[in-house]
Amino acid sequence: MQSQQESASHTPIPAANPIEEVDTVVIRFCGDSGDGMQLTGSEFTKVSALAGNDLSTLPDFPAEIRAPAGTIAGVSGFQLQFSSRVVFTPGDQPDVLVAMNPAALKSNLEDLKKGGSLILNTGAFTKGNITKATYETNPLEDGSLDGYKTYKIDITKLTKECLKDSGLNSKSIDRCKNFFALGLTFWMYNRPIEPEVESINKKFAKKPELAKANIQVFKAGYHYGETAEVFTESFEVRAADIPPGRYRNIMGNSATAIGLVTGAQLAGVELFFAGYPITPASSILHELSRYKAFGATTFQAEDEIAAACAAVGGSFGGAIGMTASSGPGIALKGEALGLALSLELPMVIVNVQRGGPSTGLPTKTEQSDLLQCLYGRNGESPMPVIAAMTPSDCFYTAIEAVRIAIKYMTPVMLMTDGYLANGSEPWKLPKKEDIKPFPTTFRTDPEGYQVYARDEETLARAWVKPGTPGLAHRVGGLEKDALTGNVSYDPHNHEAMCHTRAAKVMAVQNSMGELLMNGPDQGDLLMVGWGSTYGAITKATNLMQDEGYSVSSCHLRWIHPFHPKLGALLKRFKKVVVAEMNLGQLVKVLRAEYLIDCEPLCKVQGKPFKVIEICNKIAERAGKVS
């Protein structure tokens, strides 16, 4: 059996044939924050998507808004894996690295595949820039690039040449050079140029002179590839065999935002979202603020506490209250979430995790808030916790969060992370019929109303909108009588209420979907994951299964409570390894719950797992199928 590891079979090897077919390519664009690498990357993504490739992207932002030009701190990158097969991750190692300046080269070269292609803008390799990048000698000359297929092109100069008659000033001209690089890569991967010309025209509609210049430079780059005899080959990546339908490239935070709106519509309630900006969660607030016409009201609060409280206020009023933040902000919301679960009101809290502790690594990804999400509240404070697996899965998981929140009258924690938030993939747009609505019933009947009386199945109390005649009532954070909801200091009532709140959350098990399995449901090794590690774990498992290893993987959408079938599944494997981007948090919970000696595979580097890292662990722990 052949390994499908990304880097194995499709290095763009020079060949006589001018257009070689490859099945998977990983390309990374990097340069200074001001160099427009995010735009370059997303334009290339768009054309790959239109070509029918499956793909996955990962931007990498610097922590500063605009660190000094030319420094390593200011390097911005965008990685894309596109393929004629199903893609699970943005790729372990780029096959092609486009580096617009020395700092970009310095900080990205170690990731490039041995023998990979390196496109360099030599125009930026001035003495000053080389020093700023902390190089001691000029890498173009000191032999350090020997192991790579290096294309040295003075993009800066070529761009200038191309636009010398444009009438633009030199700063504006310099800003166009990313489109030269884009043109080059279009030629390399044999992409049609018309859609891009159109796209540039659209993007710069308000500045036609810039549109014109960028198009000119883009074409120049393309033609340079064609004619300059620098590249001896170009490649083609065929359309992937993906399910037919209409697609859209989607980033995780967009999918979350759209999913939240969809959830509210499926429930038939208004959406009230209160947020406070924080990286990498802010764009959920930004997106939702543009969906007013779809029933979303947004509120930028003075801080995260106010945001959480305002959301609870919204829920009390009969909207589905929501908030989103990242680690430090979630820490601040703990007290308010305790109130929400004590009031038993529905609510969705999104935690887009980033590197911690404290302010940590704000622009990097991590999964180290799991225990905080499960336990970061005073008292016995059970709350459903679920996690999204891929950028587009954020959509479905957001809907699930709304469903659980309303069905069980409880706040629900929806976990994603920086990798999902900013990463993207093609999303096959669902049909309305495919998604089942879950209409909400507000109680309106005063007859026999008891504020904390419960539904037998879900243990949820009734949701009542203020304004409903005859149902006026008071709720609060003090312990409540199990029926009337009046303040109660009764010892046995309190104990019963603690048990009931826990039981209600456990009842979520009764309406869960399927447990997500990949491979046989028994064997040597089960790889368990949650959240954004889905792609890497699944890909690695598939590869190693193909290599003959007895390994399966199981990915958890529901973390609290666990899926009812999980315990039995774990016990059918000799070994269980949990791969997570923390020091072993899910492992703790699984061990406590099932008394299974599962082992962590940890990575806390602000970066997602590489497929190879997981493969290595599988090779170490699993035997081959006999």
Binding site: P244, K292, A293, T297, V312, G313, P466, G467
Partner: protein, 355 residues
């Protein structure tokens, strides 16, 4: 009581309501003699008088003795967490502008832990009525000094006297840009009723500081100003359009020097006196909050303490502006069905059916 079940309330809206109709079935549990009783009673009376719909009213509070208030009102209510009531109320009001939302808070709840939510609520001018029960002490936690306690206050946490200057709640509110600012007194039944009515009628955030006596931990803290015998000389009741005068015989007045400093003048037609006609008339509607701020700064013993409405200006409310934007967005939207949201942006066809 009939179908009474909602923590034991009556529902519906009978023809003419009385104070009793606004009382919930819960026992009121403040200390005997607490000023909170009087405020509760006046709120209930005013609500009855204004025939306010109980089912469309929500009382939101934080934590503190005063914050137990919502339990005693036969309306919707939420006893939330310490200091955050304005935030809950903002979320509620913005998503449900049709409701009549009142916030109850204390000097600790509203000005210590909750100061930030309060000032942000005021600057936004969310259409909420906020009553701050100022007893200059933490009642519920048994007597620690609060942000309105006087400098040097001895309390369990400040055995040698506090070293913090107190806040002036009115100044904080005006500094935040509040559109309605008033002060009243628990025991001054008529004045309190009138002030509550004014707040009820205001569109935007109405902020009322009520001097409230905590007879257990801070008894008589306002007596220097509220005492029957000294009241006339030490309070200056404000009435829109009426001169800024005080004293039993209304023979003292307040005006500003050109340097912007308030001074007391003797009012009358005698020598060195200022004729009544030259005493400034109180104007709640001055756009510049500086005027109300100047009034709010007047303090015993140098000046009389103003009670009543210091400021009441009309301004668009936050919730109204948000509602307008939603309206606008809806009216301009090409589509509002969920599928069109999914399809926003660049889409393409792919997979085997795509050519």
């Amino acid at each position: 009581m009939g179908t009474t079940t909602t923590n034991g309330n009556k529902g519906g809206l009978p023809v003419k309501l009385t104070r009793k109709d606004y009382q919930s079935d819960q026992d009121v549990r403040w200390c005997p003699g607490c000023g909170d009783y009087a405020i509760l009673a006046q709120v209930q009376k005013v609500f009855a008088e204004l025939n306010i719909n109980r089912d469309e009213t929500v009382f939101v509070s934080g934590i503190g003795c005063s914050s137990r208030f919502p339990y005693y009102m036969n309306t919707y209510g939420m006893h939330s967490i310490h200091g955050r009531a304005p935030a809950f109320a903002t979320g509620l009001k913005v998503s449900r502008p049709d409701l009549n939302v009142w916030v109850i808070t204390g000097d600790g709840d509203g000005l210590s832990i909750g100061g930030n939510h309060l000032i942000h609520c005021l600057r936004r001018n969310v259409d909420l009525k906020i009553i701050l029960f100022n007893n200059r002490i933490y009642g519920l936690t048994k007597g620690q000094y609060s942000p309105t306690s006087e400098l040097g206050k001895r309390s369990p946490s400040t055995p040698l006297g506090s070293t913090d200057n107190p806040f002036n709640p009115l100044s904080i509110a005006l500094g935040a840009g509040a559109s309605f600012v008033a002060r009243s007194i628990d025991t001054d039944v008529k004045h309190l009723q009138a002030t509550l009515k004014r707040a009820a009628a205001h569109k935007g955030t109405a902020f009322i500081e009520v001097y409230q006596n905590c007879n257990v931990f801070n008894d008589l803290t306002f007596i220097n100003v509220t005492g029957k015998d000294v009241k006339a000389d030490r309070q200056m009741p404000l009435t829109h359009g009426q001169p800024l005068v005080f004293g039993k015989d209304k023979d003292k007045g307040i005006r500003m020097t050109p340097n912007g400093i308030p001074e007391i003048v003797s009012v009358g037609d005698g020598d060195g006196q200022v004729p009544l006609s030259e005493v400034p008339l109180h104007d709640e509607t001055v756009a510049d909050p500086g005027y109300a701020f100047m009034l709010g700064q007047l303090q015993h013993p140098n000046f009389p303490v103003p009670i009543g409405v210091l400021r009441a200006v009309e301004a668009p409310t936050y919730d109204e502006m948000v509602a307008d934007q939603i309206q606008l967005a809806k009216s301009q939207a090409k589509a509002t069905d969920i599928e069109s949201l999914w399809h926003m942006g660049d889409t393409w066809d792919a997979g085997s059916t795509a050519e």
